[in-house]
């Protein structure tokens, strides 16, 4: 009985002591067996039943004193049996709820007394006495694992004791108990073997079988059988990994003919209905909603009468039984062995999964399973073959955590941060097998624990490392190893490691991120703080390369690398200074980086680096190094100069004259960062003036003719920005810069260069002297050709330049001749604000030529211009309104055309409400033109143009006043508009109108044939006159 109890019975906790017997079928049958044994004991073996136990069996009983009948002395809560032992102690004693029993005869009686509480009592007894034999026969009979010597021991006693009667009986009792034990064990074994353990393979088989029963028509047994997931892991499971650990194999949706769809979970323990898992169910859906059945067929038989009825009619038998047992053998033995340990841990599950995986592979039919991949991250849990060879729980655990099956995705972030980061490396793809091999071989064991906070798992199994390594790029491991040497090495070791690290392809992101991920950046930056010049140089050489990566830049800044590098700029070692500056140039490519450089005094130091003699004919070696230092300094300043505050800091540190001096350098690699910095800074007025006054325009112009496109681009770009200023434009011309600019228009492939060049041409063409030059160099023809198939940044400048050039009548003809009008009109449909402003200006300029106007009209250009009045941007509105003016002036039937724009007149009148002065001026100008047509004048009058114009009369903007007066004057043409007359009653208005030459207009009007107008104009003049008189009176009176 002892062995059965300790082995077969399922205790709730593994520890001894007050354990509980689980309520399981197995335990129940055990208890029943024991009960039967006890019940029959005193009748079957009366002699043995009377043997006094060595110690009484004690337990908490549920029996009440009232349950006891005769043969017992009952007093209050205590009960004593009348039967006593040899020492007079009662064989049964009950006080409060504790009962102690000293013989089988009494045990039998209790069982009889307990009636329907029998089982409960037996359970309580066994729970309180885990090894009852010890109490019954003595401690020497304790159940021991392995060889059982108790019988022999008893035999010895028998021989010693002269075969006393009692010992003989005891011996019999022991034999009886052992018989029971054997019986119990064999029973429980039967029970265990009945238990179902499913595997993915059997489930799959069943599903295939059931699918065969689906179909159409009367004979079908089921409607459909579907998996919830098409993706099958290599272990045969279709459940997400976190469910696999629960032993779940797959989820099915089975539509039967007579029930709702059944949502079924197939797990290793059996199949059951779940809460309705469809695709990615919520957690509740995983819950069990039914009993557990041993297989699908059994479940269906229970749930679907139709299935039960029809399944047997099938032509073939569902012979899953032999298959199942055969397949299950292996798993079962594992489970049976583990059963007693009661520990149903994660590892055990893992092991099962592995076993299943193995079976699955054996049975895998080629092409038999559809393998689509719903989510790559699942795959990374990699329950795949290499692990099988490794075997054991450890490798499984490890594999689940860190192995990536595929080199294309991130691993699940189950491990440490670092480990998760490894995934990035895999983006770069696999390495050659040779390399991978070397990683897996001798060099593969790396100290993982020191750079990671990862759990003991890592330390536990360095020996497993090589196997799992093969799936990571070997760079990771090699770099990690090198970083370790960097950390713990003296100067020579560090130098060797640094040099070796430089042999990796540091331009490749895999390596860059590998260095970061294994904690290399910290070490490299720490090295910069040491006194070892060689280490600093080696470290910077690496940092310089990997800081091309934006993630690395940020990481370097985060680690305080910029501060250290700024300090290094003070070093006496020129190579070191150069490297530091070059690295700063890379790191300062983002805003925070630039700010850090400034805040730690980097700008001043970098400017100091610029101080050298760049252009003397024969440089000493030392001077050449200075030039190199200056170049690197300029590179860093170039990066830094993208921030406005840094521009200011460079200027204040005295950078401008130094840059001006370097600009004389004959070397392109020096000029590029210098001009780059200058053109960046030219956004600031102070720099533009300095560039002009320090004579830099000449150098910029000179370098337009070099043969390096990048340099040309920066020069053109600098001129673009500086040529806002008239003097600069003149200087560019005087230094002969216009011709090379036009020549650069041929570089149509390099869009950046083209944008800079056209920009410079645009700004230069603001000066008419320059336009003459451009005509001479036939720039317009080239520019017109650039109106098509160019990016917007080029178009804006090209159109801007054409707009400026077209201010000269001759050029308008050129533009037309070279077919420029059509594309210009076409560009009116664009959305780019800057482009629209320039296009409208250019179209407007072209429209002053009637022949151009004809083309514009034909292309419905005026309508396009008009619709731009609806553009929300005031610049575009104004520019469009200005362009409309010449169009109306020059179009045939302009009045008719304008009227044809539905809502057009109302639109333009409403723009008089704009707050933008330029819009108001341009609209006034346009209205003046519109009002030339009487009908249109009537319409705009209806739209209330007069009071709106009147409202504007108190403006002080002269430009607006001029166009306003013109508009007012035009509007007065309309007979009933006495507006002007009314206006003129206000002395201020009179002054305004007078100032803007209204009088002449009015005088002309007075000469008109229209009497009303005459009257109005005359009245108006009269008012002005009166005012003038009053003024004079006031002055002289």
């Amino acid at each position: 009985m002892g062995v059965a109890l300790s082995r077969a019975a399922q205790w709730t906790t593994a520890s001894s002591g007050a354990g509980k017997l689980e309520v399981t079928p197995l335990n129940e049958s055990l208890l029943k067996e024991i009960l039967r044994f006890v019940e029959q004991f005193s009748s079957k073996y009366p002699q043995e039943a009377s043997i006094l136990f060595m110690e009484p069996l004690q337990w908490e009983t549920s029996l009440q004193p009232s349950d006891f009948k005769n043969e017992y002395d009952i007093s209050g809560v205590t009960v004593k049996s009348q039967e006593t032992g040899r020492d007079g102690q009662p064989l049964l004693q009950l006080s409060s709820s504790t009962i102690s029993v000293s013989s089988f005869s009494q045990l039998s009686k209790i069982v009889q007394l307990a009636k329907n509480k029998k089982l409960k009592e037996v359970r309580a007894c066994l729970e309180a006495n885990r090894d009852p034999i010890v109490k019954i026969l003595g401690p020497s009979f304790a159940t021991v694992e392995g060889e059982d010597m108790s019988v022999l021991r008893l035999l010895e006693k028998v021989s010693e004791d002269n075969v006393s009667k009692e010992t003989e009986v005891k011996m019999k009792l022991l034999l009886l108990l052992q018989q029971l034990d054997t019986l119990l064990l064999s029973n429980s074994l039967k029970q265990i073997t009945q238990e179902v353990r499913l595997s993915p393979a059997t489930v799959k088989n069943d599903v295939e079988l059931l699918k065969g029963f689906c179909g159409e028509g009367e004979k079908r047994v089921l409607k459909s059988v579907e998996y919830t997931s098409d993706f099958e892991f290599s272990n045969g499971c279709r459940t997400p990994p976190w469910r696999q650990v629960h032993g779940e194999i797959c989820y099915l949706i089975i539509e039967t003919c007579d029930t709702d769809p059944l949502y079924i979970t197939c797990s290793t323990a059996g199949v059951f209905l779940n809460g309705g898992i469809k695709q990615e169910g919520d957690d509740k859906a995983y819950e069990r909603k039914s009993d557990v059945y041993k297989d699908l067929v059994t479940l269906l038989k229970n749930k679907s009468p139709h299935f039960t009825k029809n399944i047997d009619k099938q032509d073939f038998t569902v012979n899953e039984e032999p298959l199942l047992t055969q397949k299950m053998e292996h798993v079962e033995s594992v489970d049976a062995e583990e059963q007693g340990q009661t520990q149903r841990s994660y590892e055990l599950e893992e092991k099962n999964v592995l076993e299943k995986a193995r079976q699955q592979r054996v049975r895998n039919k080629p092409g038999g399973s559809k393998k689509s991949e719903p989510s790559l991250k699942w795959k990374n849990l990699g329950l795949t073959s290499p692990y099988e060879e490794a075997g054991g729980k450890k490798s499984t655990k490890h594999g689940v955590n860190s192995k990536f099956v595929d080199g294309q995705d991130r691993p699940v972030r189950s491990g440490s941060k670092k480990r998760a980061n490894f995934s990035l490396s895999s983006l770069a793809g696999r390495l050659s097998s040779q390399k991978a091999k070397s990683a897996g071989g001798g060099t593969g064991t790396v100290d993982f624990s020191e750079s990671s906070s990862e759990s003991e798992e890592d330390e536990e199994q360095p020996e497993r490392r090589p196997e799992s390594n093969t799936d990571l790029p070997s760079e990771y491991w090699q770099i990690q190893k090198l970083v370790k040497y960097l950390k713990g090495g003296n100067q020579p070791a560090t130098v060797i490691a640094l040099c070796s690290m430089r042999d990796f392809n540091l331009a490749q992101e895999t390596c860059q991120l590998a260095i970061r991920d294994v904690g290399g950046l910290e070490v490299l930056i720490n090295l910069l703080d040491t006194e070892e010049v060689k280490c600093k140089i080696g470290s910077l050489k690496i940092l310089k390369e990997i800081s091309r990566n934006s993630q690395i830049r940020r990481a370097i800044a985060d680690l305080g690398g910029l501060q250290t590098m700024v300090k290094i700029l003070d070093s006496r070692d020129k190579e070191l200074k150069c490297l530091a500056a070059e690295t700063i140039a890379n790191v300062a490519k983002f805003r925070r980086g630039r700010r850090t450089v400034r805040q730690y005094g980097g700008i001043k130091r970098l400017v100091e680096l610029l101080d050298c003699v760049p252009d003397s004919a024969a440089l000493t070696e030392e001077q050449e190094r200075d030039v190199e230092v200056a170049r690197c300094g300029a590179l860093a300043l170039w990066s830094c100069s993208k921030s406005t505050r840094n521009k200011e800091a460079i200027r204040r540190a005295g950078g401008i004259p130094l840059l001006a001096r370097l600009l004389k350098s004959p070397h392109e690699n020096m000029l590029i960062p210098v001009v780059g910095t200058l053109q960046e800074c030219a956004s600031e007025g102070s720099y533009r003036i300095a560039i002009q006054t320090e004579g830099m325009i000449e150098d910029l112009v000179k370098n337009l003719s070099c043969d390096n496109q990048e340099l040309q681009m920066h020069c053109a770009s600098a001129i673009f920005k500086c040529a806002e200023d008239r003097t600069t434009r003149d200087l560019v011309r005087q230094f002969g810069g216009l011709k090379p600019l036009v020549a650069l228009l041929k570089e149509t492939e390099n869009k950046q260069l083209l944008a800079a060049t056209t920009g410079a041409i645009w700004k230069c063409s603001v000066s008419m002297e320059n336009v003459v030059k451009f005509q001479e160099y036939k720039a317009l023809e080239t520019l017109v050709a650039l109106l098509t198939h160019q990016p917007e940044e080029v178009l804006v400048n090209v159109v801007g330049a054409l707009g400026e050039c077209a201010q000269k009548p001759a050029n308008r003809a050129v533009i037309r001749k070279w077919g420029g009008v059509e594309p210009l009109v076409g560009l009116l449909t664009g959305t780019n604000r800057a482009l629209l402003v320039n296009v409208t200006r250019a179209v407007g300029a072209c429209a002053t030529e009637p022949e151009n106007m004809a083309i514009i009209d034909q292309l419905d250009g005026v309508r396009l211009l008009w619709s731009l009045l609806k553009n929300p941007n005031p610049d575009v509105q104004a520019s469009a309104a200005w362009a409309i003016c010449p169009c109306i002036e020059n179009a045939k039937d302009a009045g008719e055309m304008v009227r044809s724009f539905v809502g057009g007149l109302e639109l333009i009148v409403n723009l008089l409400k704009s707050a933008d002065g330029e819009v108001l001026a341009s609209v006034c100008a346009a209205i003046a033109n519109i009002a030339k047509d009487e009908e249109n004048l009537a319409v705009i009058t209806d739209h209330g143009v007069v009071p709106m114009l009147a409202k504007l009369t108190n403006t002080t903007d002269d430009r607006l006043r001029r166009h306003l007066a013109e508009a007012v004057a035009r509007c007065c043409m309309w007979g009933s508009n006495k507006a002007l007359f009314q206006l003129s009653k206000d002395p201020d208005n009179c002054i305004t109108m007078h100032e803007h030459g209204v009088v002449t207009l009015l005088l002309a009007m007075m000469g008109s044939t229209d009497e009303v107008l005459q009257e109005a104009a005359a009245g108006c003049v009269a008012n002005i006159r009166r005012l003038a008189m009053a003024n004079e009176k006031a002055r002289f009176g």
Binding site: G488, A493, I496, C499, K534, G538
Partner: protein, 214 residues
């Protein structure tokens, strides 16, 4: 005594004159200063030895105190590189010759010098074993490691991979020279055997200016 020093001065000047013609990088005055310094250093030694030059201990003391070297083995090797005639003493000529490379050597000269330092047995090759010997103490040992030498062995392999161009498992002078020309950091790959800029400056300042003042 003054007679002696007058005679000495004459001798020193002559010697300096001769040396400055034979040895590069120092002018006559500097040479004179170095000889004076040498004599000064000798002065402390017992007379018997003084005749031969600076002994190993004395020389190592200078390397340690003036040039901040710490690695015993490398210091021995530097002594060896100075002591061209292998008599265990650095005489005045070896002293000035050695310092010429030590302080102001060209890259070529330094490559030669470093190779001599690293070629422990003087067979013209730096072998695996020699590298291992020199790098023996270059890594912090982790008590957890199974084979504490593994890191060193690995480092040797890395160095070989980087520098052994003819793949014969050892570094010839050509290998070494080529590697250093590609990456000058590798000049002192197996141990610091040259002074850094700071101590050179300090030494020269002391030797050339202080001596002149005397």
């Amino acid at each position: 005594m003054s007679e002696m020093s007058a005679m000495n001065r004459k001798i020193i000047q002559n010697l300096a004159e001769t040396f400055s013609r034979q040895i590069k990088h120092f002018n006559r005055t500097e040479m004179e200063c170095l000889i004076r310094l040498f004599n000064g250093l000798l002065g402390d030694q017992s007379d018997r030895r003084a005749a031969n030059g600076l002994d190993r201990g004395k020389f190592r003391n200078i390397l340690h105190k003036t040039f901040g070297m710490t690695d015993d083995m490398i210091m021995d090797r530097v002594f060896h590189a100075f002591d061209k005639d292998n008599d265990s003493y650095v005489n005045v000529k070896e002293w000035t010759e050695g310092l010429s490379v030590f302080l102001r050597g060209t890259l070529d000269e330094k490559i030669k010098y470093c190779f001599d330092v690293y070629d422990l047995n003087g067979d013209g090759h730096i072998s695996r074993e020699e590298m291992f010997h020199m790098l023996k103490n270059s890594l912090i040992r982790q008590p957890t490691e199974e084979d504490p030498d593994e890191g060193i062995k690995d480092l040797v392999e890395i160095a070989l991979k980087k520098m052994d161009h003819d793949h014969d498992g050892r570094l010839s002078f050509t290998d070494f020279e080529k590697a250093v020309r590609e990456e000058d950091l590798l000049l002192e790959a197996f141990g610091t055997c040259l002074p850094d800029a700071k101590s050179i400056q300090a030494f020269e300042q002391q030797a050339f200016q202080d001596s002149l003042e005397n």
